[in-house]
């Protein structure tokens, strides 16, 4: 039942994502004023902040689905968790990439040991660990459950890691200008970022639904109902 429903939903979310990105970019590049200190370079914020939000948010959603998959022994929930991981890792990578590209003109170095960037880096390792574990286990059922346990252990650790990195960061050098508290948030900037965040949300839903369908195709081959699918008949 889920398979055809997901199939119908994907185009809608994809179109919504594309439209929101265009509007968000328009606001970000054409309506938002030039920043006093950072000139035009600050416009990376319209990508860096939404992407960083998404990387954290996807991990939470992944842990949520993992918990449901573990608690109710529900295969679909577990598949959702493993479908979310690659997109989450991709967003974390983008967050690090845009953070570095933003740090270079502003602070002159590609990598700033800022508390947020460092915890993004560790989040990336958590994602990679999750995917590595899931691919190492051959039997899908155990892969789902083992991944779920790791995701839950990870989600309990994220606040601790973030707090300890924050603590560590203030110990060494003064809290450098953290990336997300940009200079006074003009309303337009905020709208631009929210639009881009919504756009990345729509994109995530679309891409994750597509991946879940792939996982279903890969795993449910023994089940008979796959054969009646029209794609299979062609």
């Amino acid at each position: 039942m889920f398979y055809p429903l997901a199939g119908k939903l994907i185009p809608w979310f994809a179109v919504a994502a594309a439209m929101l990105t265009i509007i968000g970019m328009y606001v970000g590049f054409f309506m938002a004023p030039t920043d006093a200190q950072q000139g035009e370079g600050y416009r990376i914020i319209f990508l860096h902040v939404p992407v960083s939000w998404m990387s954290m948010f996807i991990y939470l959603v992944m842990a949520f689905w993992a918990a449901i998959g573990l608690a109710f022994n529900n295969r679909l929930a577990a598949m959702m968790a493993s479908a979310l991981a690659p997109t989450g890792a991709m967003f974390t990578f983008l967050s690090l990439w845009t953070g570095a590209l933003w740090g270079k003109p502003m602070w002159g170095t590609w990598w700033v040991w800022d508390a947020r960037l460092t915890s993004e880096l560790i989040l990336l390792f958590l994602y990679i660990g999750f995917m590595a574990l899931q691919s190492a286990v051959d039997e899908p059922r155990r892969a789902d459950k083992a991944g779920a346990v790791l995701a839950l252990v990870g989600v309990v650790n994220i606040p601790i890691i973030y707090f300890s990195v924050q603590w560590w960061n203030t110990l060494h050098q003064g809290a450098s200008v953290s990336l997300t508290q940009a200079p006074s948030m003009a309303a337009l900037m905020l709208i631009g970022m929210l639009l881009m965040a919504l756009a990345s949300w729509m994109y995530t839903v679309a891409i994750v639904l597509m991946r879940v369908r792939c996982i279903i195709l890969e795993r449910e081959q023994h089940a008979g109902w796959l054969d009646e699918l029209k794609e299979v008949k062609q």
Binding site: F125, V137, A146, V149, L152, G154, N157, W168
Partner: protein
């Protein structure tokens, strides 16, 4: 009677594991030699002037201890998994959590404790002042059990997988970050004169948290692996 929550089972498992390990001493000594070698490599790589060494000493000692304690993690469950005792343990009336707790405590006694005792000795290479040595030992004493607990989760998740030992490192290292930060930080703070109490108490908090959650997570992971 005390046996309901399995205290005697706990002691039993600890004794068993200690006796088992003592039969093959090399298993116990390899992490220690690894720790000593890795620590002595750094001055060769970085140069021997005193003040840089003193500054980097806590970080190096902590990272080396962290890696050394991860080295023999597969010894925790792998053999019992292979010869089936793990299944018997899972089927036994005593709560599996207690058995896991016993195994982790035994593992800590065999790797964490020796590392904690050896570290101040090696810190002399880095010309660390004696008060810092004490703080280092204290931070390791609190920190290494946390490493064993989290390591147990990693080991139980990767039970019976090919390439498991590398995978454990990948899963477990990000979770070690807070312990590393508080541990190494405490020695730094003490050296700078800020006093290490804040760091050590935070490390203690992490220890209590992991001591509570880790056995539960490990048991769930073991049941998954044994299915």
């Amino acid at each position: 009677m005390s046996d309901t929550i399995g205290l005697s089972v706990l002691r039993g498992v600890i004794h068993r594991d200690l006796r088992l390990a003592m039969r093959r001493k090399s298993d116990v000594l390899t992490p220690l030699f690894f720790f000593a070698i890795v620590v002595s490599l750094f001055p060769l790589g970085i140069g021997s002037e005193r003040d840089t060494l003193r500054q980097i000493a806590p970080g190096i000692l902590w990272v080396a201890a962290l890696l050394a304690s991860m080295l023999s993690l597969d010894r925790l469950f792998e053999q019992d998994y292979a010869d089936g005792t793990l299944e018997q343990m899972a089927l036994s009336p005593a709560p599996l959590g207690m058995l896991v707790l016993g195994k982790v405590v035994a593992y800590w006694l065999l790797t964490g404790l020796p590392l904690t005792l050896l570290a101040p000795l090696l810190a002399l290479q880095f010309d660390l002042a004696t008060p810092s040595l004490l703080v280092l030992a204290a931070s390791l004493a609190i920190g290494t059990p946390v490493l064993s607990f989290i390591g147990a989760i990693g080991a139980s998740l990767t039970l019976g997988l090919r390439g498991g030992s590398v995978l454990v490192a990948l899963l477990v290292l990000p979770l070690y970050v807070p312990v590393l930060i508080f541990g190494a930080g405490s020695v730094d703070a003490a050296a700078v004169g800020l006093g290490a109490t804040a760091h050590l108490s935070l490390l203690g908090a992490v220890l209590v948290l992991t001591a509570f959650f880790a056995p539960w997570a490990t048991t769930v992971a073991l049941r998954i692996a044994l299915e």
